[in-house]
Symmetry: C3
Amino acid sequence: VTRGPVTFLSDYGLEDEFVGIVHLVIARRAPDVAVIDLTHQIPAHDVRAGALTLWRAAPWLTQGVILAVVDPGVGTGRRAVAVEVAGAGTVLVGPDNGLLLPAASSLGPLTGAVELPPRHTGGATFAGRDVFAPAAAELALGAEFSRLGPAIDPGTLEGRPVPEPTGGQDGSLYAEVLWVDRFGNAQLNARPADVDHLGRIVDLQAGSFAGPARRVAAYGELDAGEVGLVTDSYGLLSVSSRAASAAARLGLRPGDRIMIGPAGATTLG
Amino acid sequence: VTRGPVTFLSDYGLEDEFVGIVHLVIARRAPDVAVIDLTHQIPAHDVRAGALTLWRAAPWLTQGVILAVVDPGVGTGRRAVAVEVAGAGTVLVGPDNGLLLPAASSLGPLTGAVELPPRHTGGATFAGRDVFAPAAAELALGAEFSRLGPAIDPGTLEGRPVPEPTGGQDGSLYAEVLWVDRFGNAQLNARPADVDHLGRIVDLQAGSFAGPARRVAAYGELDAGEVGLVTDSYGLLSVSSRAASAAARLGLRPGDRIMIGPAGATTLG
Amino acid sequence: VTRGPVTFLSDYGLEDEFVGIVHLVIARRAPDVAVIDLTHQIPAHDVRAGALTLWRAAPWLTQGVILAVVDPGVGTGRRAVAVEVAGAGTVLVGPDNGLLLPAASSLGPLTGAVELPPRHTGGATFAGRDVFAPAAAELALGAEFSRLGPAIDPGTLEGRPVPEPTGGQDGSLYAEVLWVDRFGNAQLNARPADVDHLGRIVDLQAGSFAGPARRVAAYGELDAGEVGLVTDSYGLLSVSSRAASAAARLGLRPGDRIMIGPAGATTLG
């Protein structure tokens, strides 16, 4: 039985023909398989950004094959892999550099992994075209997972799931900025349930900001100039301000740590 | 019976994964339905530009579902709607903010409209993903229009058809700039038949230009530096000049009014 | 029998709705035919760049229809054509301006060509929408080639295959820069076999560079600052340097001639 569509993410951009050639390779082998472009504008070689984009999109991924290529280590010793997530009926194909693990882990337990053999073309490697796309096409057509290459231990795969926020002794939560979207919202690795015990007003330390902040349900509930915590459309908390970039104002970037604590805990000045 | 492909226009851009996630939502519900991207580069929140792009494309829209999302009012009280155009067998899905009406009106009489119920996700709204894409997928699969939500009066929908040009007493025509394309042609809401009674030379008042102008069949027939009226590939008149941006030279922008009158009517100086 | 997918390349860009409208025209006539976008970011009116992109992609083109539109001469006397390559079961559709010939020639002998009749719309021409896309759709559906228009002699088609490098008397090779990719690699019209007789160290004259250069298998084998010859992922030689733009350093642009000669032949001033 076929596994269904291929969802394709990369840092190839749309200037050149690279995305088109990967589509051609899949179409030649699997002409009836749909290929859905998630995005190809991941910043070049930014494995973390690609991994988090895939992780955010995971709830909407249909059963099928996920082809992901952000691959600064192409031509070095990094492995090319396919990873099976049994619970979700999903297979992920890409470089073993941490790109796949956050999405894979969030879809269910990893029940298998194989190393894809290299294909020598006599020149520089276009692994998306020569290694990953053919494997994705075969998997979409229903190829047995184990036929793609030698089995490897899923425990040896690079990367880690998206880290959970950690709690402090007074009920504080230490979280991490995952993404700054184009509106300047700083998405955190924390959900509303993680801070519900703190009430509607919390103390927030985030970049250059330290002080009380409100939790609100929508961006529009913030006052002009106010910094607050909003639940974004992915169900995650974000540090936001209304009609302005909170990230730019506070100097927040992906990877930064922030603290959400009980109101009154922060001493100003 | 299925309604056929979904044609998808938005202001999401291609930097982020938003377009890809809408495709995933449709693919999960309607895996055999084709999704055709019209464009996703409508300027952010520019409802007028989105509405006119859809209207220009209307003659080439196949029978099917049109999914359009340019939605500055998301999270406010604006309605989410689906609109049925009986004559053309076409359904349009999107926010009720004027985005749909020009294209819908040009396709035939509006024979029905429903309000799509909101879907509460507990956080900020990604209406394209949570409201509009599921509705578009169900309609593409052949869902009965009336099952999507409570019927509303099509006469209460926001927006208006693209305005017709108006005539003056001496045979003059007052028209509006709809669009400035990337070559600087200023497309008007007027067709050749609207000015045929004025002959091949007309008086034109458009931005900083006032004087006689020729009507020609192709951009190449204009002399260097000449401003003229060309019938563009949409069958509409445009104020153009050869190998230069007429809009930039004359200071024309979408929404500007221009006048086309009988030759000799304009008094210079 | 159907001919399979349509692969579509153009210089339309993605800002406007032009690519989407061509997709709509094909979908209306051939709803079950897949359309694969190779790229639409060919620099505007750059026929040479479009022709070479198509030629590079040729080995991955499936049997089917290639629709290519880079058409600075639209509205002038240039012919619209379809070209049949019998050996590969491939048909190319586009303007007769040299865009199609390099890819077509590389796919096999040209066994037929027809001129597509113009379609008069009463205004400026959108040939991609009105002439080329309908022809591509009919061919994808299996229309007999000869029914599309009057036969023309393939020998009269504009353009020429990608030129072969030429050899000098001492074993030197004179080659041409075909493409500078986004990493600054200057792709040549030469393959490894063309210079294997010269050994691993050659003399290279390329832009501002004149001196000995190594041939290596991967970009990473070059030392910092070193200029060398790498076999790229298309199997072609490129003038490259590590983690820097060789083209920018040496002032190389598409169309430039370079020389690869026996080591020691170059006399440095």
